[in-house]
Symmetry: C2
Subunit: 171 residues, 2 copies
């Protein structure tokens, strides 16, 4: 498995896996009927960078990386990952996440935040925890799961560069 | 004090207070040198609605309301509030927040989320708590305060409509 920058020629394969994931309505908040143009903008045009994992020329997964906030919050990045359904269980998501952490440091980010991990996506929650992310927030009913109904979304966070935090939350 | 929909003629007064707040670099993550056009887009063009609080024709404060996530998270809204520096301590922020909660219900939102409340902005944190918001997330060092350095940002959340949450977070 190789992880390399996204190229335009990858888009048909990338869109197929993004569309399958989004249409299922159980992991990403994007509307299940999102258009190809909208998702291309979010996954390829807006981010700082987009990568794909390939094996023998076949795209197995993809991720983007971008600042999670503008200006005074831009030292924390955000990533989104999707793995080809048939390639699950082969460590693709873990490899993409490890790669994204290296990329994040190379791009000057100090931490990585996931804003909206669907709590019922237990495999993802466990994987991010194994890779060093902590659950730092719990949003009650913030995700309208297409089969289950309202479920929690989790905020997960990992420090990538030692950072001296001078002010802790009072509450 | 009256709270009413934003009109184009309000923009010069609204921009003055937004610019003063953003340039201080202690409460909002927008880059302190954000352009007027960028902030107009964020405060007026992108949101579902924008309001102003006025007294005898003078704009004392403003807020926007918008979905916090697309598609399957669009039942939770997000708001941003700014009060004219000279009008602080007169209950403007509380009045805006109460108004925004009514608007949120009227627009069909079930909950309201603040993604990035700067922990050192203690007055705001206490006010949102008094108005029924809970701290549901703590982001270590996520805000680069212009004077203090890296401080916590808090995620705050309030249910506006009783919602049956079917799946709680495992971790």
């Amino acid at each position: 498995m190789e992880i390399r920058p996204f190229r335009d020629a990858d888009w048909p394969a990338v869109w197929r896996m993004l569309h399958a994931t989004i249409a299922a309505g159980d992991t990403y908040s994007f509307a299940p009927d999102s258009s190809e143009a909208e998702i291309h903008r979010i996954w390829v045009e807006t981010p700082s960078a987009t990568f794909v994992a390939t094996d023998a020329g076949v795209v197995l997964g993809t991720y983007f990386i971008k600042p999670n906030q503008p200006g005074l919050g831009s030292h924390v990045c955000n990533c989104g990952y999707v793995v080809e359904p048939q390639a699950r269980g082969r460590g693709v998501a873990a490899a993409l996440c490890e790669h994204s952490q290296d990329q994040a440091r190379a791009l000057g980010f100090r931490a990585m935040q996931f804003n909206f991990v669907v709590a019922s996506n237990e495999g993802a929650v466990r994987l991010w925890q194994r890779l060093g992310f902590a659950v730092v927030g719990r949003l009650p009913g913030a995700f309208r799961h297409q089969r289950l109904g309202y479920v929690y979304a989790l905020v997960m966070f990992k420090q990538l560069v030692a950072t001296d935090v001078v002010y802790h939350p009072a509450p």
